[in-house]
Amino acid sequence: MTALVQSRRRVLASVDEAAASAGLSPGMTVTHAQSLVPDLTVFDARPDHDETDLQKLSLWCVKYSPVVTPNPPDGVFIDVAGSAHLFHGEAALLEDMCAFLHTLGISARAAISDTPGCSWAVARYGDAKIVSPGRSSEAVASLPVAALRLAPQTIASLHDVGIDRVAHLCSKPRASLKLRFGGEVLLRLDQALGSAAEALPSLIPPEVPRAECNFAEPISTPEDLKRVIDKLCEDLCADLEARGVGARRLDLVFVRVDNITQAARIGLSRPYREPVHLGKLLAEKLDLIDPGLGIETATLIASWVEAVTERQTVGRHIGTDGADVDVSQLVDTLGVRLGQNKVFRLAPVESALPERAVRRVPALHPPQPLEWPSKLPRPSRLFPHPEKIEAVAELPDHPPRLFIWRNIRHRVAKADGPERIHGEWWVGESETNLIRDYYRIETPDGTRFWVFRDGAVGQGGHWWLHGVGEA
């Protein structure tokens, strides 16, 4: 069951079967539900996730028919008119689909009928699974008006005038219905009964930009492959430009003469359609390709594209005008060589604890207004995990005189501190009494260290090294 924050109250957004049988329904407040059902499990509703998940589910449904349309928030339309025979009939198709969804942990209701509207209604409110051709009006007649995909306020006003069932609605004069409730009611009614057409847009994505090369003679030398890549890039970029988009991800697929596929993929930090740059990045991946006895076909696919708003310019070199240096090409090159997740930028977080005061953001993330407080100097290199050290210091809060780190003794020449940092008690119980005294210390040869003591020595407190370098 999921809950959603709605005008400062938490209300149920959806309930599963078990919850529904316990008398819970969407729209109820969470506290009310919790008082009805002890040990209630509530998850936060994530409408954005729901949408992408529905999209994924729809894509999976493509196996039943090429015409599939997600119907947010919780439905999928599949046009099985021309494909049911592949599954030994409509009943078998439904069974196959529901069984598979069940293994995914999704409880699904499905119906097949002449029209999307009728299927929608019967799947949600009816008992039948398959409505025979031409029987749509009979199937929906006994269903509540809510089965017609109407807005909640329309349903409420229909209830107000005593219209509860679809049959009841059909018996009313159309003109007065339209006058009173607007065109929506009639349209939905007609769509369910099949007297108004409803087109299902296809989910299959518009043709993916791609460039292809077939070779009469198989190629295999790196130089040849590089040339092919450059050619493919040029073709693809021309296509991308015509579409007004740039590539965020490229898949390079080689088919060898022995029909084995070799593929490489690169990601880009922003949409690109600049052939030279893309060619360079792809060439970095060539050592992953084993041409074997030779390659017959090469395809370059822009599997993720985004609109390009500004005209592409060749990246400027750092320092040309100082103010706004475009580092995106450098970021891409590094990302391709080291891995996308290894190129990042650090951003401040408002936390007193040093290891919590920083987070990783994508390399081209716009800089934030927030800055680390300048009065709290931090070492140039902060360890993700402090390392335990042995230290000699005067009690109770003096800096160490000397310390041993990784088996090396360091004498302390200069020191500053303590900077007292308290645990963030609201994060966890263990931090309630956490106190760290941090010291900046310098050894006689000028090396700076950042060490801390977590409590009095002798009372479970230890010395730790948390960073090195100028602070």
């Binding site: 924050v5 400062r8 109250r9 938490r10 407040t29 969470v30 506290t31 919790q34 008082s35 002890p38 209630l40 408002e350 936390s351 007193a352 407080p373 009065k375 709290l376 100097p377 500053d416 501190g417 303590p418 900077e419 007292r420 940092i421 308290h422 008690w425 609201w426 966890g428 119980e429 309630t432 106190i435 005294d437 941090y438 900046r440």
Partner: protein, 506 residues
């Protein structure tokens, strides 16, 4: 003895200080601190509480105030005597009048105007102007009554910062004095202080980030510990004693002076009260004054004369006379009904002699506390009476009394829950479990009844911290009808601030 704490903030610095005066003073007594300087922000509202707490614990109260000036500088001031205290009150009154309800706008000019007899300690760590400039201003205004505070913050470059401040003070010939900038009495109060900051800043603990009090350890410490923390500034630690010795003022020196009624025909207050009493008696008993009533009246007048309460009776009588003359219904109530004098003056309408009521229940020599005559005025026309009082006694001598609005259990749970980021329906239903003035907050059993998971740490913290917050003052508001009238300037006795309602002051 080497150190007294000069900078302790009580919870009358609303949503900043996290401990009550009682808690601070008992902690000070345990730690061996002999005097505590209470300095709330632009306010003296916590002084009476602090005074009582000081009496109970034997720790001396040093009356003080933290002035947050409009320019961004802050200084602590301590009156050395009654007159200086009066000037401090006047200054706060001026500032409050300028800023409107709940705020106070002061700047260096006001400080200069009212500086006489005040000791001043500049807080050098929160300045916006250059330290040297502010120190020179301070030195010019306060001469040998100027000091500069040195406080540990447990932040980087502490030694350097202290030295810079000390050097600047030495250049300006301003002696330094150590303060600990106390916000709460014991270390465990830090959580509540963080939550209070969140409430004040209208944010939650997860989003508050750097807006919370950054530097820690703002609880009371032993004098020996303070000496240890300032090894290079022992003189500044000991100088706190010098300040303590210079502040001779105590709230005991404030005595209430009743307003004098406009004197007619050369009679003093007592004579006039007697005259009015016998005239009134003649009206109440037109036929003949019964002997027992006459005896009772003589007894009461005697007592009133000895206790010197005559002006108070006259004041009440004249207010009631005004109300009656305008046809405003009014009625004395409460213990005043025990007084035959009140009866014959027309303040009350029950004959205590006939009812056999005891005057001693109203005024008694043993109790030595001023009598209390409650008079109810017709609700719709109360404002007329209030305005008449302002006119007759003048705004410098009269004001409505303020009442302190404190957190009740309900509000405490709601606000703490909000600061800890609980959803509003949860805090709402928790608050719904509480009736009125519960001192206990939400009991575990109540939360269980709501089917809430008590193992949830945030929820448990909410209940715990809300319990601590109950009784903490939130703001000042006006008493529905309480009036303070004095003989000389009221704003030398307490700070007076304008009220939200037109033409009223508190």
């Amino acid at each position: 003895m080497s150190y007294v704490e000069l900078q302790a903030t009580t919870h009358f610095s609303f949503l900043r200080g996290a401990s009550s005066a009682e808690e601070l003073f008992s902690a000070a007594a345990l730690l061996g601190i002999q005097a505590l300087g209470v300095v709330d922000r632009n306010s003296l509202a916590g002084m009476v509480r602090a005074h009582v707490a000081a009496k109970v614990t034997g720790v001396r109260l040093i009356v003080g105030c933290r002035l947050d000036l409009q320019c961004g500088s802050s200084l602590l001031v301590y009156p050395t005597d009654r007159l200086a205290y009066g000037r401090l009150c006047r200054m706060l009154t001026v500032g409050k009048e300028r800023a409107g309800k709940g705020k106070c706008h002061l700047d260096w000019r006001d400080v200069e105007e009212w500086n006489d007899g005040l000791l001043a300690v500049l807080l050098p760590d929160e300045l916006t102007a250059p330290l040297d400039e502010e120190l020179h201003k301070l030195r010019r205004i306060f001469a040998d009554r100027a000091y500069c505070a040195l406080s540990r913050r447990f932040l980087p470059d502490e030694a350097q910062r202290l030295q810079t401040n000390a050097n600047a003070a030495a250049r300006a010939k301003v002696p330094t004095v150590v303060t600990n900038d106390v916000l709460y009495h014991c270390p465990t109060r830090r959580m509540l202080q963080d939550v209070m900051s969140c409430i004040r800043l209208h944010t939650t603990i997860d989003n508050a980030g750097f807006q919370k009090e950054r530097h820690a350890d703002r609880f009371l410490k032993k004098p020996q510990e303070m000496l240890r923390l300032f090894p290079k500034y022992e003189a500044a630690v000991r100088r706190t004693m010098e300040l303590e010795a210079r502040c001779k003022f105590s709230l005991d020196q404030l005595t209430y002076t009743y307003p004098t009624e406009v004197i007619e025909d050369g009679l003093n207050a007592q004579e006039r009260l007697e005259k009015l009493t016998w005239e009134g008696a003649a009206r109440r008993y037109p036929d003949e004054l019964p002997d027992n009533v006459a005896t009772q009246l003589r007894h009461e007048l005697n007592l009133i004369e000895r206790m010197d309460y005559a002006p108070y009776f006259l004041t009440v009588e004249s207010i009631v006379r005004f109300a009656r003359s305008k046809g405003i219904l009014c009625q004395g109530r409460g213990s005043a009904a025990n007084s035959a004098v009140c009866y014959v003056l027309g303040v009350t309408s029950i004959d205590p002699v006939r009812q056999g009521l005891l005057f001693e229940r109203f005024v008694s020599e043993e109790r030595r506390e001023p009598p209390d005559i409650d008079v109810d005025f017709e609700h719709e026309r109360r404002e007329e009476v209030i305005q008449w009082i302002y006119e007759t006694y003048g705004r410098t001598r009269s004001a409505l009394t303020a009442v302190v609005t404190r957190y009740r259990a309900k509000g405490a749970v709601r606000e703490v829950g909000k600061a800890l980021g609980l959803p509003e329906d949860v805090t709402g239903s928790l608050a719904g479990m509480i009736w009125g003035w519960s001192k206990e907050g939400v009991a575990d059993r109540d939360a269980k009844a709501l089917n809430l998971n008590l193992d949830d740490r945030r929820l448990r913290l909410t209940l715990e911290l809300a319990k601590q917050l109950i009784g903490t003052p939130r703001h000042l508001s006006q008493h529905p009808g309480g009036f303070v009238l004095v003989w000389d300037r009221l704003d030398e006795l307490v700070p007076v601030e304008p009220a939200a309602m037109d033409n009223r002051q508190v």
